[in-house]
């Protein structure tokens, strides 16, 4: 077993699809929270293969799509400090802040380097002892432990020129905020598989228990996603919302305890601002005081200037499944894939972006 092509077999997908078609009687609305699932769903044309009883909605996509202008402004202000090196995942450099983006700052002379891993960022810090290196810590629970590990590594190696701008986001609090903010027309969540590899499936129990919405943790191969839909349909038909795992090879109920321990060692929860959704308590992570010398916000005087927040964005309601992109006054006018405003347009797999490019979901029937 190589854990890849086995889970893409067309023949087995057909079996799962016909099981879903046979079982799905009640109309149901499912949201895939994670942009990775959206990619799989689009790449394999899964939406059009599902019966008409099932409606799939795309969630907020990714941690970078939901990073607020104020936070991106901080990253850009840091990038403009002479001599400083910003190390970042590639996703972050295109996303606009209030006035500009990291890629524009780079064009203006900032030293912004794209890396695949914090391991590469640590190497840059080692190789440039005379310069400060700031890693942009963006990511959900999947990524946060890797950033925590880099901070611990820097501490052990005595790397004094490495720090992290922590813009991490946590998934359960934002789902809770979405569900608390009013009427939500959802019957089930496909929960993010790689976030759950760290947090465990237990992180989602409140959704089923407190809100009566079904949850299935899924992997990212097409068969994983189909299996999760099949399990959600079964729950909806039985009328018994619970948390199940459709990715048992990669996710345990209790998660990765070592990763959780490292995350807890370095970070503590804080309130965080989400693009298009506002400030949500305990939905972010900041470095604990013991690690303040690795906290870019403490190490540097960051002056990003006044934040400009776009008004009129309805991404929050789109994510709740209450509105479609066409209901938004900004859609296609002030907000386009080239100059996105809300997370659903920033993410190339977000609802708004796909509506814009394909006129309604990327589906050709």
């Amino acid at each position: 077993m190589k854990f890849a092509s086995e889970f893409r077999q067309g023949k087995l997908a057909q079996g799962l699809l016909s099981k879903i078609r046979g079982a799905s009687k009640r109309p149901a609305r499912f949201m895939e929270f994670c942009g990775g699932h959206t990619v799989t769903i689009f790449r394999y044309g899964i939406r059009q293969a599902l019966p008409e009883t099932i409606m799939m909605l795309s969630g907020p996509g990714c941690p970078i799509c939901v990073t607020a202008n104020a936070d991106l402004d901080k990253a850009i202000a840091l990038a403009r400090i002479p001599g400083l090196i910003i190390a970042t995942f590639g996703d972050a450099i295109r996303v606009p802040g209030s006035y500009t983006s990291l890629q524009v700052a780079r064009a203006e002379g900032a030293d912004v380097r794209i890396v695949y891993s914090t391991l590469d960022a640590l190497r840059i810090a080692e190789e440039n002892p005379g310069r400060k290196v700031v890693f942009l810590g963006i990511g959900f629970e999947t990524t946060a432990p890797t950033i925590a590990a880099s901070v611990l590594q820097a501490k052990e190696d005595g790397l004094a020129n490495y720090s992290v701008l922590s813009l991490h986001k946590l998934c359960p609090p934002v789902i809770k905020a979405l569900l608390d903010s009013g009427e939500v027309a959802l019957d089930g969540f496909i929960c993010p598989g790689h976030v759950s590899a760290i947090t465990g499936s237990k992180a989602w129990e409140f959704i089923a228990r407190d809100y009566g919405i079904s949850c299935v943790v899924a992997g990212f191969e097409p068969l994983d996603v189909l299996q999760s839909v099949d399990m959600l349909v079964a729950q909806v038909e039985r009328g018994e919302p619970m948390v199940e795992i459709a990715y048992r090879r990669g996710v345990q109920p209790e998660g990765n305890t070592e990763a959780l321990r490292l995350m807890d060692e370095v970070f503590e929860p804080c309130s965080a601002e989400w693009r298009g959704m506002g400030t949500i308590p305990d939905s972010g992570l900041r470095l604990k005081d013991d690690y303040r010398r690795f906290d870019a916000e403490k190490v540097f005087e960051i002056d990003p200037g006044p934040t400009r927040e776009p008004s009129g964005c309805i991404c929050g309601e789109i994510l709740q499944g209450l509105k479609t992109p066409h209901d938004c006054p900004l859609f296609g006018e002030a907000c386009t894939p080239e100059e996105p405003v809300g997370p659903c347009m920033v993410s190339s797999e977000g609802s708004c972006s796909t509506y814009y490019r394909y006129g309604g979901g990327g589906i050709e029937r």
């Binding site: 044309g45 059009q48 990511g139």
Partner: protein, 333 residues
């Protein structure tokens, strides 16, 4: 004497002359170039194709090629995609002060090999040296002219419903080979760039069928972007089948690790041909017989419709294939 390029190498004085004569002209010698006049004067008959391109790549030496081979393949391939047989090239260097002379020699030797393989001649050239920091190591520009055979008319506007879509081999090799050596990303892989001159294969294809409608090399932006260009230029719908598109395992693995879709990864030695169904088998056979088309496959067909590319997935569903927006950057999400 220094083993590096000095600003004086670009001054027009004796150092400059020596550089040009010994390191550029001597290895690339031919009767036109050896005259060293201000312009190359050549005899020419027939319909002329003319193109130019500039080459910047990081790193300049990568698995399976280098900036020199790229500069010859890129321009001769652009000529070949118009159906032309490439004949003459120009070769211009912009070199950063401090560049190693041995690296110049490596590049020129690779250029020489590639021009011999593509059967083209460098007939004119230029060299400039800029201050350290004003350029990144070396940039090359090549312009080329070629002859278009009688009766051949290729254009991205010529696609017709019913045409078959042929692809000369696995996609994404160049992009992944180059990416594997970038700072901050490095991983080891046996994938080599597919960088290759395609003019011999194109000549064989045209000999097999003069009725070929379009040829295009899917370089930056990859196969997806090229097919979108063709669909939009000809205002047709192109339908391809995912399972027929060859991608090497290693390329696929690197793409999954970095969050890429191989459909958008660059190629430098592949072509896409849109060919009337009646001639598709013959053209495919000609491709498979040539050195750089052994893995050529039919991947789909052209249909009535408007400017769209649709891919049938392995699940039997279809999805729209968009153009690449922005740069291809490694992503975590």
């Amino acid at each position: 004497m220094s083993d590096r390029i000095l600003l004086a190498h670009g001054s027009g004085g004796t150092l400059a002359h020596r550089l040009v004569e010994e390191r550029f002209v001597k290895p690339l010698l031919n009767p036109v170039l050896s005259k060293l006049d201000d312009a190359a004067v050549v005899d020419f008959a027939g319909r002329l194709a003319f193109t130019t391109d500039s080459y910047v790549v990081n790193p300049i030496f990568f698995p399976g090629g280098d900036i020199g081979r790229l500069a010859i393949c890129g321009t001769t391939n652009d000529l070949a995609m118009s159906g032309a047989r490439p004949v003459y090239l120009s070769l211009s260097f912009i070199i950063e002060e401090g560049f190693l002379l041995t690296d110049i020699d490596r590049i020129i030797s690779s250029i020489r090999e590639t021009t011999e393989e593509a059967e083209v001649k460098i007939v004119t050239g230029d060299t400039k040296v800029v201050d350290r920091g004003s350029a990144d190591k070396v940039y090359i520009n090549t312009a080329g002219i070629g002859v278009v055979p009688e009766g051949v008319s290729l254009s991205g506007r010529n696609a017709q419903p019913g045409d078959k879509v042929l692809l000369s081999g696995p996609i994404g090799d160049h992009g992944i080979a180059v990416m594997s050596k970038r700072e901050g990303l490095d991983f080891s892989t046996k994938v080599e760039s597919d960088c290759a001159p395609l003019c011999e294969m194109v000549a064989a294809m045209i000999a097999a069928s003069p009725k070929i409608h379009c040829l295009r090399d899917p370089t930056r932006g990859g196969l997806a972007t090229t097919l979108n260009e063709l669909a939009s230029q000809s205002n047709v719908r192109i339908v391809i089948e995912e399972e027929r598109i060859p991608v090497r395992d290693e390329v696929l693995a690197a793409c999954e690790m970095l969050g890429f879709d191989p459909l958008y990864v660059a190629n430098e030695g592949k072509l896409v041909a849109l060919v009337p169904a009646s001639d598709a088998e013959r053209v495919l056979a000609a491709m498979r017989k040539s050195k750089y088309g052994k893995e050529a496959v039919l991947i789909g067909e052209v249909k009535e419709g408007s400017s769209r590319v649709v891919m049938k997935t392995s699940l039997g569903t279809s999805r729209l294939i968009d153009m690449l927006t922005g740069d291809l950057l490694p992503r975590i999400c």
